[in-house]
Amino acid sequence: MVDLEHIRAVEATLFASETPLHIKDIQQYVGDKIDVDIILKILEEHYLGRGIELVKRGERWHFQTAADLSYLLRRESDEVRKLSRAAIETLAIIAYHGPVSRAEIESIRGVQISKGMLDVLIEAEWIKSAGRREVVGRPLIYVTTNEFLTHFGLSSQKDLPGIKDLKATGLLDPIDSVMNEIFTEEGCEENDG
């Protein structure tokens, strides 16, 4: 039997937090004795169908308004307007292919990307560098962040729209297995798949 006080405590903690919370974070606030895992499920169910919902993004939980009410609240935020087509494509490539290096992103897009574009995405906290690839030149590689999942309402990387189909059709296979730099300055350089 779960104590109502425990439910209230977890509810209040999540409600007051400015950022999504991991179970461990919640535990820190409400104390060790509370079974946060179970309470999150109870709360999730309690808010189901309400105007506010408890959602899990990545491994972290937060309250947000129900998506179907966006018609009431929708705002075109600056972010959306600012993001260029190139930036959106780059973000998608990092999300679906990540971890990827800049050269790999450029290979998919067939065009060089400006340094500033990655900075914009890093600043938005949607991507981050995740070490270096152990190949010649040791390029930095990039992945999407928890904030990315939160912002786009994804419960995990597997939740990316259409990712299963893309995988099945081989469109997410490592880049050089399909083709290499035929479109670089060297033109028709050959690459064995």
């Binding site: 998506a67 998608a92 065009v111 990316l160 035929i182």
Partner: protein, 276 residues
């Protein structure tokens, strides 16, 4: 195709909306394009078939026409657009000429690779559009407008024991005691004391005696620091007193060797009047 429309709205330019239905009229504004692959992809999609079934020859024709148009309008074309044109021309001739088994990779394989490449880029373009169309925080769904925020406040607690406190004060006090305190603790025999003492003893017709015998006996016993200091002071004072008394002819001093014991005796030849 709806997702493509989404992309259009998000693109920095609106060239797609007007030109997409007529590939031959495809933009004369080269700035709007994200490289040759971008143009190829749009041209390919204009064939209105699955990308896997596009006609590569037709695609090549459209691309070359696009480049020609741009050139005839004296638009500046970046090198990579021209490289692509050259490569596509090569591909086209390879596809049209009778098959040459010597050529590897075959033109067909190159065409397939190009098609796959377009497919991959297209997949990402659509994925991007789908991502952007999701219920996004701050646009479609909202977090709480004003959160109280959570804080773990570190309460600093300072540790200091009663003993530490008292000891510290003890040390401050000790450190700042008046200098008087130091003098009091120093073991000295004054010159006056020594004069009195030596005068008294020497008045009794003393024969050659080690000067150390004139020191107060009490000083010879102690082994601690205090006694040691006092002994040194007493010896020095006694020596000074002896010199003074010798000057007055009250006593005589004798030393056989350097660092040999200093011997003292009453000056028998003189009268015993002292200056003190």
């Amino acid at each position: 195709m709806q997702s493509i429309d989404e992309t259009n709205h998000l693109s920095p330019d609106n060239i797609w909306d007007d030109d997409i239905t007529n590939p031959d009229a495809l933009t004369l504004n080269i700035d709007g394009w994200e490289g040759p692959l971008d143009i190829l992809l749009v041209l390919a999609r204009n064939q209105k078939v699955d990308l896997r079934q596009i006609s590569i020859l037709e695609l090549v024709r459209q691309y070359l026409k696009f480049i020609d148009d741009a050139r005839s309008l004296k638009l500046e074309l970046a090198a990579d657009y021209l490289v692509m044109a050259a490569w596509l021309t090569y591909l086209k001739s390879g596809l049209l000429l009778p098959k040459d088994p010597e050529i590897d990779p075959s033109p067909e394989e190159l065409a397939l690779r190009l098609q796959l490449r377009l497919e991959r880029l297209n997949a990402m373009r659509e994925a991007g559009a789908r991502l952007m169309a999701r219920d996004r925080i701050g646009r479609d769904v909202f977090r709480r407008g004003t959160s109280e925020g959570l804080r773990i406040e570190k309460l600093r607690k300072y540790q200091c024991s009663y003993f530490d406190l008292i000891q510290a004060y003890g040390q401050v006090s000790a450190r700042t005691q008046p200098i008087m305190h130091m003098i009091k603790k120093r073991a000295v025999m004054t010159l006056e004391d020594a004069l009195n003492r030596v005068s008294k003893i020497i008045g009794q017709s003393v024969e050659w005696t080690n000067i150390e015998a004139f020191l107060p006996t009490i000083l010879l016993s102690g082994d601690d620091n205090y006694s040691h200091m006092l002994r040194r002071s007493a010896l020095a004072s006694t020596f000074m007193a002896s010199l003074e008394l010798a000057r007055n002819g009250v006593l005589e001093l004798q030393q056989k060797d350097s660092f040999a014991p200093l011997m003292v005796r009453t000056n028998s030849s003189k009268c015993k009047d002292t200056a003190f």
